[in-house]
């Protein structure tokens, strides 16, 4: 029989404190971002700050309600919640009107619209947590791995269909949890390589260098470097790695001399030749040592080269508008609303804040509406401009504290269910923070996802509140046995 505990006594008060502070700062930032001299009251319900206050009040009620639910309910109904939200996503896609190119909003009344994609995150996290909690569940088994990936891919796919690519990318954050649960680092490494190859290959495919597309040349060089790295660290064959490095250096020097002498070098073929020679050399090594890790390195290299050329081919076969979207994302093309301009304006606004900032409500760049989406995706700008470096650091610090606190909570969970859910929550928060602030300060591509608790919008605030408070509820019952 379960031993119930007093929820209020065992709940993590530090997290609640951080949550309340962040939500409060978010609210006054929204007020500052949409502030105009014509309107003065932060409580005016016709304005966004007033509306956000309503959303905040409702989130507190929501949070309290979650606290009253028995924590076992989340586990028992996890799959049902997941299925319900997937159906809701499908339903949204079917009935939603197109708003600015996306079909992700459910219209409740004229002024109230919800974005189910924001709520699907916690449902997915619960479902995955329940799967991990299953009796004798071993994540390292490939079948289980693919089951979990399937659970993540389904909402991603549905959200991409709603034309909300940014929100869909958030689901990549489940990788953190998978890594914690023992996913081999190779998958992470392979994923990063694949993204890197794709981005570089596409981005520089139009620039020619030595008679070959620059992108493909760069990627081939990286593939060679990765190969040496794999032989050195993974196959642990120092000698072969050294030989390969020497070979590459010689090849590079010879090529450089040839170029300096004004001889045309067919770079693509040279690089492909070098890769092929390396592979032949490694095959020979394999037949001498029978080290299966060498074989893995060979396979990885071949797959990489095939991937590089196939993604260029696939890319050129895409529909023009899909291609444009990827090109804009990679900064190859400025879209009509000129994302490059936005980021530049956002940097100007932040840069003008200085160390101490211009003071609350005294920001000029954001008020002048130079920065687009200043109370949603680009809200960090307002903080940077009005509160300066220390304010921006404070917000970053609060988020870091929240994320690290979630990690502490995660590690003290007695059961996989709580731990996996906590790491999923951590991943989601971190991903939002990473992308949103990175985008505003010009370090990440512009992907429209909100800054938790700060960006205006009821759906996102509610989504994050539910996400966090389910975790707190599960954590509050960690000492119960059942």
């Amino acid at each position: 029989m379960a031993r119930s505990v007093n929820v209020w006594k065992s709940v993590d008060k530090l997290t609640i404190f951080l949550y309340v502070v962040l939500v409060f700062l978010g609210w006054i930032s929204i007020y500052a971002a949409s502030y105009d001299y014509d309107q003065a009251s932060i409580f005016d319900f016709a304005e966004r700050s007033g509306k956000q206050l309503v959303w905040i009040g409702l989130s507190f009620i929501l949070a309290s309600a979650i606290m009253l639910i028995d924590s076992r309910m989340f586990e028992i109904y996890a799959y049902m919640i997941y299925i319900a939200f997937m159906l809701l996503l499908v339903f949204t896609f079917i009935v939603a009107d197109e708003v600015k190119g996306s079909r992700s909003w459910l219209t409740i009344t004229d002024s109230i619209r919800l974005q189910p994609a924001e709520f699907a995150k916690f449902a997915t996290a619960l479902a995955i947590a329940k799967m991990f909690n299953g009796y004798n569940f071993k994540f390292t088994k490939p079948a289980n791995f693919f089951k979990v990936v399937g659970l993540v891919l389904l909402p991603m796919l549905l959200i991409v269909m709603q034309q909300e690519t940014g929100s869909a990318l958030v689901y990549l954050s489940f990788i953190f949890m998978m890594y914690r649960e023992g996913m081999t680092g190779l998958v992470l490494f392979g994923g990063i390589c694949a993204i890197l190859y794709f981005v570089l290959g596409i981005k520089f495919s139009a620039d020619m260098w030595m008679g070959a597309p620059l992108g493909e040349s760069i990627v081939l060089i990286i593939i060679c470097a990765v190969l040496v790295g794999m032989i050195y660290f993974f196959a642990e064959n120092r000698l072969v790695a050294r030989n390969l490095s020497i070979g590459y250096i010689v090849a590079a020097v010879v090529t450089a001399i040839l170029i300096a002498c004004g001889i045309e070098v067919p770079m693509l073929y040279v690089l492909l030749g070098i890769v092929a020679l390396s592979l032949i050399y490694l095959l020979v090594v394999y037949f001498m040592t029978f080290s299966s890790r060498i074989l893995v390195a060979i396979a990885v290299t071949i797959v990489s080269v095939v991937f590089l050329f196939s993604c260029n081919m696939v890319f050129s076969k895409l529909q023009p508008h899909q291609r444009t979207r990827i090109e804009v994302l990679l900064g190859m093309k400025e879209d009509l609303r000129a994302a490059g301009y936005n980021v530049n304006q956002s940097k100007i606004a932040i840069g003008s804040g200085g160390f101490w900032g211009k003071g609350f409500l005294n920001g000029t760049q954001t008020k002048l509406k130079y920065v687009p989406e200043q109370d949603t995706d680009f809200i960090f700008c307002t903080i940077g401009e009005e509160e300066g470096f220390w304010g921006a650091c404070l917000v970053l610090g609060l988020f870091t504290a929240l994320i690290l606190r979630i990690m502490v909570i995660a590690e003290r969970q007695p059961r996989p269910f709580g731990r996996v859910y906590a790491y999923s929550v951590l991943g989601i928060f971190f991903f939002h923070l990473f992308i949103n602030i990175g985008m505003v300060i010009g370090l990440c591509p512009v992907i429209g996802i909100p800054l938790p608790f700060f960006s205006y919008g009821g759906s996102s605030l509610w989504g994050f509140t539910i996400l966090l408070f389910i975790l707190l509820r599960i954590d509050a019952s960690r000492s119960e046995h059942f």
């Binding site: 890594y179 914690r180 008020k367 970053l396």
Partner: protein, 608 residues
């Protein structure tokens, strides 16, 4: 490891923030509240030409008065109103409209707002001289439409200011922008509008322009809208509109070999130039209130009973299904009389085979044919099954669904299916005789003039058609392949020759003798559609010349009596005018004169 990743990212971000905010860089220099002015550069809207290259729609300059509310100082309101030629009340209304966030979601006192649109060149001149006295105001060049001829309003459409819902739907629009309304202006909005540009100007503390921000690196040049060439022949269109004056109805002329619409006349119509400029709102309201409804494009939106113009489809279906051969005779005893049921007909020889039945437009022939088909229990299991086959043939000929013309608002007409009758009469409670009037294009059947003209084009082509369209080509682009692919109805092409022969016989010695021309082999079919709301509608469908047809046509005149009274003369004049360029024969000249000046005043029995 994960904690490390989090801390590393945060550390990188803090360094970056430090560089941006505390380190020395260009970003601070620009951060003056007056540093930037973003000015929108409007593209020129694409021109519209007719099929012979005649310019039909082009642009005229207009001016918007813009206002940056926060920079307005010491405005002499009375003087300002006098300059603009507006009253103080209007001034206040403009201001309150501008501040209304429901009408203008992008309102801010810091950014340029549209104060007033479409200033005339005169007022613009006066304002420009005194502009220095009104800080915070400036003008912006815009384009309005100008029409070279007062024709084809239903095809061309017009432009209007965007509504808040347009802005909501498409990010491209800002308050005060224009968008296409009706016609090709609407359906080809994205081609015609081009892409707005923007320049970012740097200003000093006094608001004076100091040049371009970063030498125009972030400027976007506007891209002019692309020109469109219509398939409409402006002369033929004008001629058709003249013929239809005083009458209610529509003419659709199609070039069979391409599906290009040569003329799309809807009557009554209006001069498209009344919907340009400041008077647009008033004129638009007037057109909306007009009981004759000139904004309603009867050529593609009106759904009429096709009447006898429907008979060729029946002949084709009966031939295809093997119900009749061209030699099959059916009697006509002054009509189709079975039991207590009687569908009347007029005097002609009896019995008669297919070709003369088309020439004389015998009702009985098609009633017998439909009954033979629907009651044929050897070939079809039930009336429903036979009926569905009958219906599917018609659908393949373009009836019952939208053809897909490249204009907004096309209607689909109406074809009942067996479920419709099951519901109406009860399952298995209906048979051929219950619904016999559909054989002669009466009863539930409704079609748009476009669908009737498309049938004429299909017969002219002996068995295929192209989706009718009004846009022949787009500058630097090609038209959608749906308009360049042949569509084949489910009727074998060899059967069409009999129908063509019948339609030829109708002209040489049948119901459309008025269309008989000495030098052009015209084929035609009249239609006199009964309508429960008033006098019969007069219809005609035809094409010419018989071999290698260049024009297929449908004419529909509401409440004008027999097909031969109005439909045939108008249709034949249109074809003759198009093929020869003018009407010369004195007798035909008389006919033309009569058509120009006749009026059909009847109660409007149109179905919508």
């Amino acid at each position: 490891m994960i904690a490390g990743a989090v801390l590393a990212v945060v550390a990188i971000y803090i360094v970056r923030l430090f560089m941006l905010q505390v380190g020395d860089n260009d970003y601070k220099r620009y951060a003056d509240s007056n540093a930037f002015q973003r000015k929108i550069l409007y593209p020129s809207r694409g021109f519209i030409y007719d099929r012979n290259g005649e310019l039909m729609v082009y642009n005229q300059p207009a001016y918007d008065v813009m206002m940056i509310p926060r920079e307005v100082r010491g405005l002499d309101t009375l003087d300002f109103c006098n300059t603009l030629g507006i009253t103080i009340e209007q001034f206040e209304k403009y201001i309150s409209d501008m501040k209304d966030r429901r009408k203008n979601p992008g309102y801010s006192t810091y950014t340029p707002q549209v104060f007033m649109t479409q200033l005339s060149a005169q007022d613009y001149g006066r304002l420009q001289e005194k502009l220095y006295k009104y800080p915070g105001f400036y003008t912006q060049n815009r384009v309005l439409r100008q029409y070279s001829r007062p024709i084809a309003a239903n095809v061309l459409g017009n432009i209007r200011e965007v509504s808040p819902s347009d802005i909501e739907k498409d990010d491209y629009y800002r308050r005060g922008d224009y968008t296409g309304d009706l016609g090709v202006e609407k359906s080809f909005e994205e081609v015609l509008r081009g892409v707005k540009g923007e320049e970012i100007l740097l200003r000093d503390a006094h608001g004076r322009i100091k040049g371009k921000y970063e030498d125009g690196r972030y400027d976007v040049q506007p891209v002019s809208g692309r020109n469109i060439t219509l398939s409409i022949d402006a002369d033929l269109q004008a001629y058709g509109e003249k013929l239809m004056r005083g009458k209610t109805g529509a003419i659709v002329a199609i070039e069979p070999a391409t599906g290009e619409i040569l003329a799309l006349v809807s009557s009554p119509t209006y001069d498209p130039s009344v919907l340009v400029g400041r008077e647009r709102g008033k004129n638009y309201a007037k057109l909306t209130r007009d009981p004759a409804n000139p904004l309603f494009d009867r050529a593609i939106m009106a759904m009429y009973p096709p009447g006898s113009t429907f008979k060729p489809t029946q002949g084709l279906i009966f031939l295809e299904e093997g119900i009749i051969t061209p030699e099959t005779n059916y009697p006509c005893t002054g009509g189709f009389v079975v039991g207590g049921l009687r569908v009347g007909c007029h005097a002609h020889p009896s019995p008669l085979p297919l070709i003369p039945s088309l020439a004389t437009s015998c009702n009985a022939y098609y009633c017998y044919g439909l009954r033979s088909m629907l009651d044929n229990r050897r070939q079809y299991e039930s009336t429903s099954e036979a009926f569905e086959i009958w219906k599917n043939h018609l659908v393949s000929m373009g009836y019952g669904y939208r053809l897909g013309v490249d204009l907004p608002g096309e209607k689909r007409g109406f074809l009942p299916n067996s479920k419709y009758y099951d519901k109406f009469y009860g399952e298995n409670r209906w048979r051929a005789l219950t619904i016999i009037s559909i054989a002669i294009g009466q009863g539930e059947i409704l079609a748009t003039p476009l669908q009737i003209a498309n049938l004429a084009a299909t017969i002219a082509n002996r068995g295929y058609f192209y989706t009718p369209h009004v846009v022949k080509s787009i500058q630097d682009s090609i038209i959608d392949t749906t308009y360049t692919e042949r569509r084949y109805p489910s009727i074998d092409s060899r059967y069409y020759d009999y129908i063509v022969e019948g339609m030829r016989a109708a002209v040489t010695g049948g119901t459309c003798k008025t269309a008989n021309l000495p030098d052009i082999e015209v084929c035609g079919k009249t239609g006199t559609a009964q309508n429960p709301h008033g006098r019969d509608h007069s219809a005609f469908m035809g094409f010419a010349p018989m071999d290698n047809p260049r024009i297929a046509i449908a004419v529909y005149v509401e409440n004008a009596g027999f097909g031969a009274t109005y439909g045939v003369p108008i249709g034949s004049l249109m074809m003759e005018y198009y093929l020869k360029g003018e009407i010369t024969d004195p007798a035909r000249k008389d006919l033309e004169h009569r058509m120009f000046n006749s009026k059909v005043v009847g109660n409007s029995g149109k179905k919508r």
